[in-house]
Each structure stands twice: as structure tokens, then as C-alpha cells.
């Protein structure tokens, strides 16, 4: 009997294997529609002091924009890395869907690694940036372009393998 006769079965088993292996895996994060595009216009009140956080605040140097909230458990896990990252690049925070008083208490307890924190209480910034959950982080070029988006916590690995190389490439 012809060997080709087994080809469909072979292909089927391979597809079955791929489907079976994917079944147990977590949902992949949403692909970003904004990578490579300039930052949308935004103007957020600052958590501390006068003035506002706008794309102009970030211009001239590479920056990281980190969306977080005092209600967000994964943000707690992620938080220590920003002190580390802050030595290499300016890190700005955006407190999303949060009461400023709660954000302040949260930062007072865990340390404030941010150069400035904007307040996005009603999700306007989040919607403009295509945020689907917290934490979410963006690497912004000196010209204000979104170079990379990290949905979910920035871990040591993500920092070393994704963000840091992209940051180095910019310099």
C-alpha cells in the first residue's frame, strides 16, 4: 500500500497534537495595535503637585510608561523592578481607575520609583492607549513613539530580554 495514504492521518495527528498542547496554555495577551505609532494625545493631572503629565513631559529621552493601580495584585509583584529599571531610564506611572488617596498610600508603603505619576481615574488615557488590564507598560522613544508594549507584569526576564535590548538599540 502506498505511503501517501498515511499522509492525511499523519497531518491530522500533528494538528491534533498542536491543538491538544495549546488547550492547557493560558490565553495569549492581546496583540498591540499601537506599537510603532506615536503616543496619542493625553493630559493627566499629576498625583503630586501642580502640572500635568502629557506626551511632552516624556519627550527628549527614552521613557517607560507603567499603568498600575493600588487595586491591582500583579502590580504589587511587579513593583520592585521599577526601582531597578529607574536607574537606566525614566519611569513614569499612570494610576488607572484609582483614588489618588489610595494610590498615595500604596506608593508610600512600597516606595515611589516613578519620576511622575499621572492620574487616570476615568479610563480616558487607558482607552486611548488600548489598555486591557493592569499592569501594562510601554517603552517610549525620545520622539514619543511607542516602541514596545508589555501586557502584564514586567519581570526580570522581560526587562532583560525585551525592554533593555530595545532601549539599548535606541541609544
Amino acid at each position: 500500500m502506498n505511503r501517501n495514504a498515511w499522509m492525511p492521518l499523519f497531518v491530522f495527528v500533528i494538528l491534533l497534537g498542536i491543538a491538544g498542547a495549546r488547550l492547557g496554555q493560558p490565553e495569549p495577551p492581546l496583540p498591540s495595535a499601537l506599537e510603532g505609532k506615536p503616543l496619542p494625545a493625553f493630559s493627566l493631572p499629576l498625583l503630586a503637585g501642580e502640572g500635568r503629565l502629557t506626551p511632552d513631559t516624556l519627550k527628549g529621552r527614552p521613557a517607560i510608561l507603567n499603568v498600575f493601580g493600588s487595586w491591582c495584585a500583579a502590580c504589587v509583584a511587579e513593583h520592585p523592578i521599577w526601582a531597578e529599571v529607574g536607574k537606566r531610564v525614566d519611569v513614569y506611572g499612570v494610576a488607572w481607575l484609582d483614588e489618588p488617596a489610595k494610590t498615595r498610600a500604596w506608593l508610600a508603603e512600597r516606595g515611589n520609583p516613578y519620576k511622575a505619576v499621572g492620574v487616570d481615574k476615568d479610563s480616558r488615557f487607558a482607552l486611548d492607549m488600548g489598555v486591557a488590564g493592569a499592569p501594562e507598560s510601554y517603552l517610549i522613544s525620545p520622539e514619543g513613539r511607542i516602541v514596545a508594549k508589555v501586557p502584564g507584569p514586567v519581570t526580570e526576564t522581560v526587562w532583560k530580554e525585551t525592554l533593555l535590548p530595545a532601549l539599548e538599540a535606541m541609544k
Binding site: 502506498n2 501517501n4 497531518v11 492581546l30 495595535a33 481607575l97 487607558a126 482607552l127 486591557a132
Partner: protein
């Protein structure tokens, strides 16, 4: 009768939280509002992923609903508002994905694989010397085995055996037929003989009515019998006849309204008008309050629903089932 009422009651317990959409979001312009609702049903909530933003309670979905309304109010077309969100979140934001190379490939791939597989099988089992003889050199054709009919037969037998084994494991050949009367009796929680009794009564009433069609009380009794037998269209017809003949007590009108609701499977304006009249005459009528409150909750007017239910609950005797039921219902409304 009580069972039916309970069924209606249980049905409405699930109605209240069916919409996440909140009334204060509503736009004053009904045309814009309709467009906004329709668009919201097409947009995916990126937090819950398989809900539309119209159904989702997530804060982000709420913000998206607001954005849609702002854009429509500012004069955007539906397509422009959709495109604005698509630019930020990608095609994923749309519950009905657009036609792209990727989606066409996705939908065409199974068909292509199936056809490819069939073609491969045909090629493998083609009888040498048939149409393809020209493609196969003579010596190769001789070396090929005879057509693989036995293999095909074995595959067919194997498939049958596998299907038989699956049926033996999962199937229930011993499952008896379920005639209507026992099923109805079981659903209503009464004996089959009481169903038969009720059917007999309905028949006698029909003969009686055939002779004296002006007997409103007979029509009302027939309506209740039909309702008991779960025949809501007939019940509604008989009860509205009774009402037209002067049977306008709260019991009859309430049964009529309930039959209309059960018949149409919806809180129809006609039924709500009847309950409204009952409640106007007797604010303590628990059933009228029940359905009027459910209608308010369904329309998104939670404060009004709570007011109707709480008011009626306070008018029931302490410890009564209706009082408890109305209170529970009011407490289940989302906090304002």
C-alpha cells in the same frame, strides 16, 4: 397554579441582572441611543473577552460605552466610532471580525485540509490502469499492490465498531418514551389523575360555554383550567373573554396578565397595563407589584423597581412568603 406562579417567579429572578448597561449612561436622543446600544453589542470587552461591552460590568467596558456615546454625540458615524476603538485595540475589539487575509485563511483552512486529505486518499487508492495509467510507467504499475479495497472495508468496519462502542458507553438505549401527560404531571408536581381531572373539567366547561357563551364565570374557570394545563394561549383567550364579560376581579385580571406573559414569554405592555390597573386599585397586590417591579428592573430603572417591591413587601403580613420573596428581590438589585 402555585407551581406555575413559582415558575414565572423563578424566571424573573434571572431577568434583573441580564444587562450591565446602566440607565444613567443613556443618551437623551433616542436615535443616537439606539445606535450606541447596537454598537456596544458589537464591541468586545477586552477584560472579559467573550462578552460584549453591552453585557459587561467591567469598569473598562463602562468607559468604552461612554466613549462610544461621546463619539456618536460628536457626530461620528458608526463606522468611525468603531474604527477609533479598532485603531487602539486592533481587530480583536470587534466581536464580528472583519474580512482579512488572516480570517479568510482561518476559515478556508479546514475545507482545504479536508479536500487535500480526500485527494491524497484518492491518489493512494487509485487503481493502476484506470485514468491515471498514463502517469505510471508500466513496470511501476505492475509493482503496485492490488487496489486497497480490503483496507477501505477495514476502515469502514472500524468506524462502525468505534461508533458502536461509543454508543454502548455513552448512549442510553433503555431510555423510555415520555408521553406528554406524565411529563406535565411531573413538571407541575401533581398526579396524572389530577391532570386528567382538569382536562375533563376543561372539556365540560367548553360544552357548557358552547350553550351559554355569556357566562363570564365559566370563561374564567376555563381560563384557569387551561392555565393549570400549561396552555397559556388558550388560557389568555378564555380569561380575556371573562374580563370582557365583567369578570374584572384582581384574581382574574392578574391571571390573564400572567397568562399573557407566559404565552409571549415577555413582559408585554398589555400585561403590564393590567397589572398597573390591579396595583392602582389595590397597592398591596403582591403579584402585580412583582411583575411591575420586574418590568422596571428590566428597563434598567432599579430605584423604581426597588421602590415597587419594598412598598408591596411592607404591605404583606409579617412572615408571609410573598413578603420575603419581594424583599429578597429588592435586595438583589445592584446598589445605585
Amino acid at each position: 397554579m402555585r407551581r406555575l406562579l413559582l415558575a414565572a417567579v423563578l424566571g424573573f429572578l434571572s431577568l434583573a441582572p441580564a444587562f450591565a448597561f446602566e440607565p444613567e449612561e443613556r443618551l437623551p436622543d433616542p436615535v443616537l441611543e439606539t445606535r450606541a446600544r447596537a454598537l456596544s453589542k458589537e464591541l468586545r470587552c477586552v477584560v472579559c473577552r467573550n462578552q460584549s461591552i453591552d453585557e459587561s460590568d467591567a469598569e473598562l467596558a463602562k468607559a468604552m460605552r461612554r466613549l462610544v456615546r461621546e463619539r456618536l454625540s460628536a457626530g461620528d458615524s458608526d463606522a468611525e466610532a468603531l474604527a477609533a476603538l479598532q485603531a487602539r485595540y486592533g481587530d480583536f475589539i470587534r466581536l464580528l471580525p472583519p474580512l482579512t487575509v488572516g480570517t479568510v485563511l482561518l476559515w478556508a483552512a479546514p475545507v482545504a485540509l479536508l479536500l487535500g486529505g480526500l485527494a491524497a486518499w484518492r491518489g493512494a487508492f487509485r487503481r493502476p490502469g484506470a485514468a491515471s495509467a498514463a502517469e505510471i510507467p508500466a513496470e511501476d504499475a505492475a509493482a503496485l499492490p492490488r487496489p486497497a479495497a480490503p483496507v477501505l472495508l477495514a476502515a469502514a468496519a472500524g468506524a462502525l465498531l468505534a461508533a458502536g462502542a461509543a454508543y454502548a458507553a455513552l448512549g442510553r438505549p433503555g431510555l423510555p418514551d415520555q408521553p406528554y401527560r406524565p411529563r406535565l404531571a411531573e413538571r407541575l408536581g401533581v398526579s396524572q389523575s389530577s391532570i386528567a381531572e382538569m382536562e375533563g373539567m376543561a372539556e365540560r366547561l367548553e360544552t357548557h360555554i358552547a350553550k351559554t357563551p355569556g357566562d363570564g364565570r365559566a370563561w374564567a374557570m376555563l381560563g384557569r383550567a387551561e392555565r393549570y394545563l400549561d396552555r397559556h394561549a388558550e388560557a389568555a383567550a378564555a380569561l380575556s373573554r371573562a374580563a370582557a364579560l365583567g369578570e374584572t376581579g384582581a384574581d382574574t385580571l392578574g391571571d390573564l396578565a400572567e397568562s399573557l406573559i407566559l404565552r409571549d414569554n415577555a413582559l408585554t405592555p398589555e400585561a403590564l397595563r393590567l397589572f398597573g390597573a390591579i396595583r392602582a386599585a389595590d397597592p398591596a397586590d403582591p403579584r402585580a407589584a412583582w411583575f411591575l417591579g420586574a418590568a422596571a428592573a428590566e428597563a434598567g430603572d432599579h430605584p423604581r423597581a426597588a421602590a415597587i417591591w419594598r412598598d408591596a413587601a411592607a404591605r404583606q403580613p409579617a412572615g408571609s412568603a410573598w413578603r420575603r420573596r419581594l424583599e429578597i428581590q429588592a435586595s438583589r438589585l445592584p446598589a445605585p
